[in-house]
Amino acid sequence: MNAVKAIFLKELRVEFRNKQMINSYLILSLMIIASFRFAFSIIDFSITELASPILWISFFFGGMFSLSPIYKREIEQGTKEGLLLTPISPSSIYFGKLFANLFIIFCLELFILLLFFVFFPVNIPDLFSLLCIIVISTIGITALGNLISAISSNLSQSEVMLPVLLVPVLLFTVIMSSVSVTSNVFAGANIFDVLDEVRLILAFDVVFIAVGYLLIDYILEE
């Protein structure tokens, strides 16, 4: 547990020491939302129906860029060997990085949500349910995203390979379910009306964390 905490604090320190990185995430989020606003400015569209896919695609791409450096910088800066030589199990490294990543992505999503409401003024009947669903889905996305980021960090052209590997496994599982559930919330349901679907997303979370825990050893031993 101490090891997980140490890795968690280390990752956050690295992220926040380099203010450029945080700034570029925030600017990127602004750009993503602005491009969606541009794409939908020409046509008449129902904002309640499109709100949920727009929101989730923005989360997905915003989150992806903050997932990308988390393993890669260990390789680039030559700290990977040092990290592996410490008496910490690979799964502790995985969980430490996962929690740090979750923290950063939650902050980022909150920022995207704020921007989203500015650019797409949509009515939210139940903000609490929306936030709950975002939190639950983000756990699954980050758990798998972390593992894929560890894979892609070992590849050449890792910036291109991360989205190539992430889209087929994430977009058609967690994100698809989240979009459905969130569009229901925008249409007026609360979290107890969509409990079955939320349970499925919770199952994603559990399975993806278990997969990460089991498979990270094979990836880090490279």
Binding site: L144, L147, I148, I151, N154, L155, S156, Q157, M161, V164, L165, V167, P168, V169, F172, T173, V174, M176, S177, V179, S180, V181, S183, N184, E197, L200, A203, F204, V207, V211, L215, Y218, I219, E221, E222
Partner: protein, 226 residues
């Protein structure tokens, strides 16, 4: 020696069964009472789809075996099978679209769970090949692709669930049922599935051999290069 004989045997069986299945699918079975002759593509469509699922299953299994044993033999099988799987998956998607156009009026229906899952599988294994192409070393290629193959197949039941939820909010267009299979049609289908399975085994054996030869050549090159 034994392996060569086995390969020849499988290839002969594949050729014989393919000829039989062509006869059964195109001549022996009567045309479908509603869909007519168009329906005959069904025998090759289902067989290709079946082979693609089998091939991806083999990739998953070989990936697990590789991680357990660290023997490159399993990695070669996983990769070869994934490649063949993509080939047959593409064939399945194309033949399915050709069949769907006259029957449904469209080439593709996103609401259909079978089509959706096949498409996701296709994407996952395209990504799998891209991963292998970008790996930096032989071990890393084998390790990472085995892990990704496992993740990919674990995601499939979840895609299934996600699509079910999706459909609740995006109601599907009702399609006419495909009609029940007559005994002669079922027989033709079974024969073409057997034929395609032999074809798959034959291609897999050849493909694994090619991978082995590639490895030997690499070893020889390294020797010559010092």
């Amino acid at each position: 020696m034994l392996k060569n004989k086995l390969r020849i045997l499988v290839s002969i069986l594949a050729i014989i069964f393919i000829l039989i299945s062509v006869y059964f699918a195109l001549i022996y079975t009567p045309p479908h009472e509603i869909m007519g002759d168009v329906q005959r593509i069904f025998y090759f469509h289902v067989a290709s789809a079946w082979i693609s699922y089998l091939a991806f299953g083999v990739t998953f299994f070989a990936g697990v075996m590789y991680l357990k044993s660290k023997d490159f033999k399993w990695d070669n099988i996983a990769f070869s099978s994934a490649e063949i799987g993509i080939l047959f998956c593409t064939l399945g998607i194309i033949t399915g679209s050709l069949w769907a156009r006259p029957i449904w009026g469209v080439f593709w229906r996103w609401e259909d769970i079978k089509l959706f899952i096949t498409f996701v599988l296709w994407l996952i294994f395209i990504a799998y090949l891209a991963l292998r192409a970008n790996a930096k070393s032989r071990t890393s290629k084998a390790n990472l692709s085995a892990v990704f193959g496992i993740i990919g197949l674990i995601c499939i039941p979840f895609s299934f669930g996600a699509n079910r939820i999706w459909q609740q909010y995006h109601p599907t267009i009702l399609v006419s049922s495909e009609g029940s299979l007559q005994p002669s049609m079922a027989l033709s289908l079974i024969i073409s599935v057997i034929a395609f399975t032999f074809l798959y085994i034959y291609i897999l054996l050849v493909r694994v051999d090619i991978e082995k030869m590639k490895e030997e050549i690499d070893k020889l090159k390294q020797k010559v290069g010092g």
